[in-house]
C-alpha cells in the first residue's frame, strides 16, 4: 500500500505543476495591458510603470513563472485590489461555506442516491423503478440554477405562512450569525498568526462552530437555511448515483456467484447486502469521486442563486467586478485541492479493492 501511495503522490506532482503553468499562462494571456486589467482603465502611465516593476512583470517569462510558483507554494495567491485584502484571507472567509455546502450535498447524494438505486434494481421494471428512471433522466437534464430558482419560488412564496416555508437565501437569518468558538471560550489569539487563521477558518464552519459552542438555536436556523441549497446541489449527483448504483447492482445480481449463494440457501437479504451490494459498490465509488468536480461547478451556481458567501458566490462577484487576481487565485487553489481530493479517492479505492494496488 505504501508503494502504491508513493507512486500516486509522485504522479500527482507533474499535474500540479501543469496546473501552475496553465493558470500562469492564463494570467499572462489577459488581452491588453496587465496593469490596466488589474488596476482599471484610469491607471496613469507612472502608476502602471511602478505596478509593473513592483510585481516583476518586466522580468523574463521563465523568471516570472518561477516567482509565481514560489509565491503559490508560500501560500500567497495575490492581493485583490477591489477588496484590498489578500486572496488567502478571502479564502479563509469563503471556503468553509463551500466545504459545508459541498459536504451536505454529497452526503445527501450518497445517503439517498445509493439505497434508492439498490431498491430500483431489486424491483426492476416496477412502478418505482420506472418512476425513478424518468425522474433521473429529467433531473440530470435540468439546469441546477433553474431548479434552485423554482424551489426558491415554491418554498418561499407559495408556501409562505405554512410550516413548510423555507428561507430563500442567506446562510443564517441576519443578526443570528453565531459567535466564533474562540471568542466564546475567551481564547486570545495573536492577530495574523497561522493559529488565528485556522481558528477563524474553523469558526466559519457553522455546523462545527455551533455544535462545539452548543448554540442550538443558531444551528437550527443554519440548517433551515441550508435545506434548499443542499437539495439543489445534491440533485444531479443523487440521481446520477442512483442510476449508476442501479445498473451496477443489476450487473452483479445476474452473476453466477450470486445464483450460487442463493442456491446454497443463504437468505436473500444476506446475498443482496453482503455479496451483491459490496461488489456493486466498487464502481459506484469511482462515480462518487467523479461527482466532486461536478459538485464544485454546482456550488458556484447554487451559491450564486442562494446568495451564499462561499467560493462560488465569490467567483460570481469577482466575475462581475472583473477581479482577475481573485479568479486566478481561486482557480489555482481549487484545482490543486481537487488533485488532492482525487488522490484521496484513488487511495480509498485502493484500500477497498485490493486488485487496484497490484495493477
Amino acid at each position: 500500500m505504501l508503494q502504491y501511495t508513493v507512486r500516486r503522490l509522485l504522479l500527482a506532482i507533474p499535474v500540479v505543476l501543469g496546473i501552475f503553468v496553465v493558470t500562469f499562462a492564463l494570467a499572462r494571456w489577459i488581452p491588453g495591458d496587465p496593469c490596466r486589467a488589474m488596476l482599471g482603465e484610469k491607471a496613469t502611465p507612472e502608476v502602471c510603470a511602478r505596478f509593473m516593476e513592483e510585481n516583476g512583470l518586466n522580468d523574463p517569462i521563465p523568471v516570472q513563472l518561477v516567482n509565481y510558483i514560489g509565491e503559490i507554494l508560500r501560500g500567497d495567491f495575490g492581493e485583490s485590489i477591489r477588496y484590498s485584502r489578500s486572496v488567502t484571507e478571502i479564502m479563509i472567509d469563503r471556503l468553509p461555506v463551500t466545504i459545508e455546502l459541498g459536504a451536505f450535498g454529497l452526503t445527501l447524494a450518497i445517503v439517498i442516491g445509493i439505497p434508492v438505486g439498490v431498491l430500483a434494481a431489486l424491483k426492476r421494471n416496477s412502478f418505482f423503478d420506472v418512476f425513478l428512471m424518468v425522474i433521473a433522466n429529467i433531473g440530470v437534464s435540468m439546469p441546477i440554477y433553474w431548479l434552485a430558482l423554482m424551489l426558491m419560488f415554491f418554498f418561499a412564496t407559495v408556501m409562505r405562512g405554512t410550516p413548510f416555508w423555507i428561507p430563500p437565501s442567506g446562510r443564517v437569518t441576519p443578526g443570528l450569525s453565531p459567535d466564533p468558538f474562540f471568542e466564546v471560550f475567551g481564547w486570545e489569539l495573536a492577530k495574523g498568526s497561522i493559529l488565528a487563521g485556522a481558528a477563524k477558518f474553523l469558526s466559519n464552519l457553522y455546523l462545527f462552530n455551533n455544535i462545539i459552542t452548543g448554540n442550538w438555536s443558531s444551528l437550527k436556523d443554519y440548517l433551515h437555511h441550508m435545506i434548499l441549497p443542499a437539495v439543489c446541489l445534491a440533485s444531479t449527483s443523487l440521481l446520477t448515483l442512483a442510476r449508476f448504483t442501479r445498473s451496477s447492482m443489476l450487473e452483479v445480481i445476474n452473476q453466477d456467484y450470486i445464483k450460487a449463494a442463493r442456491a446454497k440457501g443463504l437468505l436473500r437479504r444476506a446475498v443482496i447486502w453482503k455479496h451483491a451490494f459490496r461488489n456493486a459498490l466498487l464502481p459506484v465509488i469511482t462515480v462518487v469521486g467523479m461527482q466532486l468536480s461536478l459538485l464544485f461547478g454546482g456550488a458556484v451556481l447554487t451559491e450564486t442563486v442562494f446568495g451564499l458567501a462561499g467560493v462560488g458566490g465569490m467567483m460570481y462577484e469577482a466575475i462581475t467586478a472583473r477581479d482577475f487576481v481573485v479568479i486566478q487565485g481561486f482557480t489555482v487553489f481549487i484545482a490543486v485541492s481537487f488533485v488532492l481530493l482525487n488522490l484521496i479517492v484513488d487511495l480509498t479505492y485502493g484500500l477497498i479493492d485490493p486488485r487496484i494496488k497490484v495493477e
Partner: protein, 336 residues
C-alpha cells in the same frame, strides 16, 4: 464453370446478409425499438423545427421593445385568451380565479409566456433561443470532437513519448473542475458567446481524446491493421481507414450526450454573465437577467429553464439509447 457461378452466388448472398446486419443497420433497428430514444429524437426534432421556423412561429421580433406599440406592462404574466373572462360557468370561473393568464381581458394582446423586464414578448424570445442553443451545442461538440480525435489518435498511434506528452497535457486540463476552467478561460478571453463556446470546447477536448486513444490502442495490434501495413498502406491510410472507424461508435454516443452537456454549460456561463450578452435571446442569459424577479414574475424564469431542460433531455435520451443500441451487452445488464 457452373459450379463457379454457384459459389459466387452463395458468396454474394452471405455478403448481403452481412451488409443487412451491419453495425449501423443493427443500431438503427435497435434504436427504433427503444421508447426512450424515440422520445429523445422526437424532442430534438421538435426543437430543430422550432429553431428553423422561429421567424414564422414567433409573433414578435425577439428584440422588439413593445413600449408605445402595445398597452402592456413590463414583466406582466402570460395572457392567453382561452376562457372568456365574462364566463358564467362554474368551471370557467374557477379556472379564471386560479389561472388568471388563461382568461385575460379581451382587449389585452396575447402573450403566451408573458412580457419580460424590457417589455419584449417572452414567447418569441424563447423560440429564438432554440436557434442559439442548438447551434452552440453542435458547434462546440464539432470543435472539441475534431481536436480531440486528432490528439487522441496521434497519442495512440504514435505511442511512446508523444503519447506521454499529449496525455499528460490533457490530464492537466482534466484536473480542473470543468466550470472553473471555463470561467478562467472566459475571464481571459473576455465575455461573449463565441468565447464561451471556445472555453467549453477546450474543456471538453480531453474526453474525446481519451476515447479515441483507447480505441486506437485496442485496435492497433489487430492482424488486419498489420495486413494493411504489410500491403503498403501509408500511416495515414492505416490510421484513417483501418483504425479510426472503430472509434466512431463510442464517439457518436459521447458526442450526442456532449451536445446536451454543451447546451447546459453554455446556459450556465450565460447565466453567470459570461456567455451571450443581453439583449441576445439566449436561454441562460434570459434566466440570469430575470433571476431576481423569480418571486414576482416566475414565468420569466420558468419558461427559458424548461426549454433548456427539454432540449438537453432530448440529447440525453438519444445518447443513452444509442449507447445501448451500439453495445447491447449493456442492455442485457439492465441499462435501459
Amino acid at each position: 464453370m457452373a459450379s463457379k457461378i454457384k459459389k459466387t452466388k452463395i458468396g454474394e448472398k452471405s455478403f448481403q446478409d452481412y451488409r443487412q446486419n451491419s453495425l449501423w443497420r443493427l443500431t438503427l433497428r435497435r434504436i427504433f425499438h427503444q421508447r426512450n430514444a424515440l422520445f429523445g429524437m422526437g424532442l430534438i426534432g421538435f426543437m430543430i423545427l422550432i429553431a428553423v421556423f422561429a421567424p414564422v412561429i414567433a409573433p414578435y421580433d425577439p428584440l422588439q421593445v413593445l413600449i408605445g406599440i402595445e398597452d402592456v406592462k413590463k414583466r406582466s404574466g402570460p395572457c392567453i385568451h382561452l376562457v372568456d373572462p365574462e364566463t358564467t360557468s362554474a368551471l370557467g370561473q374557477q379556472v379564471c380565479s386560479s389561472l388568471k393568464g388563461l382568461c385575460c381581458p379581451a382587449d389585452q394582446p396575447t402573450h403566451l409566456m408573458g412580457i419580460d423586464g424590457n417589455v419584449r414578448d417572452q414567447f418569441s424570445r424563447v423560440l429564438y433561443g432554440a436557434r442559439i442553443s442548438l447551434l452552440v451545442g453542435v458547434v462546440t461538440v464539432s470543435l472539441s470532437l475534431t481536436v480531440g480525435t486528432i490528439l487522441g489518435s496521434l497519442a495512440g498511434f504514435l505511442g511512446g513519448r508523444w503519447d506521454n506528452i499529449i496525455m499528460r497535457l490533457l490530464d492537466v486540463l482534466m484536473a480542473f473542475p470543468s466550470l472553473l476552467l471555463m470561467i478562467a478561460i472566459v475571464n481571459v478571453l473576455g465575455r461573449g458567446i463565441i468565447n464561451a463556446l471556445l472555453a467549453i470546447s477546450i474543456v471538453s477536448i480531453p474526453g474525446y481524446a481519451r476515447i479515441v486513444r483507447a480505441s486506437v490502442l485496442s485496435v492497433k495490434t489487430n492482424e488486419y491493421v498489420a495486413a494493411s501495413k504489410a500491403l503498403g498502406g501509408s500511416s495515414m491510410h492505416v490510421l484513417f481507414s483501418r483504425i479510426l472507424p472503430n472509434a466512431i461508435p463510442p464517439l457518436i454516443v459521447r458526442a450526442t450526450l456532449g451536445i446536451g452537456g454543451a447546451i447546459l454549460e453554455t446556459a450556465a456561463l450565460s447565466f453567470l454573465g459570461l456567455g451571450a450578452q443581453p439583449p441576445t435571446p439566449e436561454w441562460g442569459t434570459m434566466l440570469g437577467t430575470e433571476r431576481a424577479q423569480v418571486f414576482t414574475a416566475p414565468h420569466l424564469v420558468f419558461f427559458p429553464g424548461f426549454a433548456i431542460m427539454l432540449t438537453v433531455l432530448g440529447f440525453n435520451l438519444l445518447g443513452d439509447g444509442l449507447r445501448d443500441a451500439i453495445d447491447p451487452r449493456l442492455n442485457q445488464a439492465g441499462n435501459d
